[in-house]
Amino acid sequence: MLTQTSLNRILYGSRGFRIRVPISSCTLAAGAGEVYRKVIKVVEEHGVDAEVYRVGCTGLCFMDPWIELAREGLPPAIYGNVKTEQIEHIIKNYSEGDLSEATAVRFKTGSGGPPALEEVDFWRYQVRYVSRNCGLVDPESIYDYIETGGYLGLKKALYMKQEEVIEVIKTSGLRGRGGAGFPTWLKWKIAYEQKNDVKYVICNGDEGDPGAFMNRLLAESDPHRVLEGLIIAGYAVGATRGIIFVRAEKPLMADRLEKAVEDARKLGFLGKNILSSNFNFDVEVYRSAGAFVCGEETALIAAIEGRSRPRQRPPYPATHGLWGRPTVINNVETLAHVATIFQTGVEEFVKHGTEKSRGTKMFCVTGAVKRTGVYEVPIGTKIKTLVFDLAGGSIEGRKVKAVQIGGPSGGCIPAELMDLEMDYESLQSYGAIMGSGGLVVIDDSNCMVDVAKFFTSFTLAESCGKCLPCRVGMRHLSDLLERLTSGEASLEDIEVAQELGESIARSSLCALGGTAPNPILSTLRYFKDEYVEHVVNRRCPAKVCAKLVKYSVDPALCRGCTQCARVCQVGAISGSPGEVHRINYDICIKCGQCLIACPFGAIKKV
């Protein structure tokens, strides 16, 4: 556990003044690179005795890029959405003890001033268990990780017998955080019981779900925690080699993990005779060439073996996995949990969660909400807590219509069911899945049929083409949705979609096909009226489906600037400069370019 001295050392650094700048894929996209350079420049120019410290991301993406200033004697203050020109000012004011501009402070030392993190909505409902170090420590420094209690869990585990390690995880009740929620200890036990001189453990960091990025965040911000979990897993099952599987789209994640492996090897946490325990283990980071189906266990193994495509289970990887050897595959977050359980003890872990699923889970809340980000909450937290309390609810003037949970394999939960407590079983019974934990909030400006079409075309493109239902069936579903969104479908088609979807789900080979129709089945379950509206009245209530909307010029707003007429590729817009323009519906192809081009907002969808 983190002692007060360690915490102080981490917070303020050796010089007593640390300026944290998050460097991760998402913060870099928001401009953290410039902020970082600017902070260094300001510190140098003004001779501030501070250490500029690169950290991972906290998951509070809505305030990217942020910086945190921490000087001994002052509460560490977090400044959200900083612009480069504000930095000089912020550092100066903070150094003088003026914290008024901060978004929040880590803890309070007196009354007044900006709120402490425990007081703000986006933090106080969270239980930061695995993500405790995210945004606090330098992900590229193994010493800082050790300072926070890192590799202590490994040390504890190595003192135990292998069965005892498995027993610890069993009492904790940890379930796989990657989707299906399979008990982690059981996977380990099956692999442990296999008699084989070579066994593998694989960390599944493929994370292909659009809308989910907690694994990337965790591995970029605290890579050693994942690695430590992997080493413990390797010890428990008696493996000699571990592989961290990362997809090529996430290069920084792979770089950081590679650095972590290198450092751990140098300090003897990897290699021969780890911590004098006679346990030999080494880890390799494998960069996948990227395919959604690789998130599926057997496809992931196939990818490492240099092939593609999943295969029928059983035999399960725990008995016949990589190169035919017993293989345990665990998700990034699961392994981080393993390391944390060993560091903090089981009691700390089982405090949270439900009877059936213990502990916490990281959820990514994105889409139409005010505060997008990654939030770690106990399993069993209500959807509305995540969407409204933590993420701040819908954007002004909009209404939350549904929440899509679990990526392309998941389903849509309507706004009426926001009281649902999220755990593996309850989500499944309502037609969604926990998946990796991505929540995409859909508001009334989105069309549910279009959402279903998006996911169906996604899984269609990602289908590996091995088994028939997924390869051909998804094509038919996709065509059908295309017809629906262009108003050419009949009511019978909706029935066909239902029947076909169920057939694909039940008879496909792997989990991808088995869950691919979920988006369409769940939207049919809760939003059938929207489907019917598309068929019967040939109308898209949300005005999204291009072929069912019409563009028109609002004469009150049009100033005759001719912008729209110029971008129109088919010449459907007429009107001379200064006059109200008209759209000829016989020619209009509804490409929507005029709407984007109009500087006055005079073109509207009807």
Binding site: Q312, P314, L468, P469, V472, E499, R506, S507, L509
Partner: protein, 217 residues
């Protein structure tokens, strides 16, 4: 040896063998297509699906387990098999009149087994190449009539009149059939006349194709 129950019949099979062996031992049959014993068992066609303890699994790949209760026929399974077979057909451009495999076609066999009349009379007609009546310019309706008659008429040199009705899904054969008629220059009017003999109402799709053939000529 492990004991399994196929539709309630108890059989003993060696552990680890695919379910299909137990099913066959018990004297039942499941439709298979992609499965070639000992050579290919990747479970890709999903036609051999059976229920094992309530779970849908492919019989050709899924191993037996002790005490497993296997069901080979049910309404649910039938739906999946038909659905998957139709999906397969939807990507299959029917050209039975020129297909080399017509005498040993697993698809045709399966179509009969599952009772799906989606193949043309040509699949049963022994005439090929220059002997084919269409190739001789006759208005034979074989390519668009549902099979099942053993092609008695065409066997004896009489052009098919379509007494068994047309194939239901024109998507499957429209393109190839148009090519066929056009290639051999069959008279569209004669074709239409022949079609009217049995099909008092022509579905729109057929009418369109036939009139296109006659117009192109």
């Amino acid at each position: 040896m492990v004991k399994v129950y196929v539709n309630g019949v108890e059989v003993e099979v060696p552990p680890g063998v695919p379910i299909i062996e137990a099913v066959e031992k018990a004297g039942y049959r499941v439709p298979v297509l992609c499965y070639l014993n000992d050579f290919f068992s990747e479970a890709t066609c999903r036609l051999c699906v059976v229920l094992v303890n309530g779970r849908v699994v492919p019989a050709c790949k899924f191993p037996v387990s002790d005490g497993a209760k296997i069901v080979t026929e049910s309404r649910e399974l039938d739906t999946y098999r038909r659905m998957n077979f139709q999906l397969l057909l939807s990507t299959h451009r029917i050209k039975c009149w020129s297909c080399l495999r017509k005498t040993s076609c697993s698809l045709l066999d399966l179509s009969k087994q599952l009772n799906l009349g989606e193949f043309p009379v040509c699949s049963e007609c022994p005439l090929t190449g220059d002997d084919c009546l269409v190739a001789k310019g006759e208005p034979c309706l074989g390519p668009l009539t549902a099979a099942g008659c053993s092609a008695e008429c065409t066997r004896n040199g009489v052009p098919c009149l379509g007494c068994r009705g047309y194939i239901e899904d024109p998507e499957l054969w429209r393109d190839s059939m148009r090519d066929l008629y056009e290639k051999h220059g069959v008279d569209g009017e004669k074709l239409e006349a022949a079609a009217k003999f049995f099909w008092s109402f022509l579905p729109g799709e057929l009418k369109k194709i036939i009139s296109e053939v006659s117009r192109d000529k």
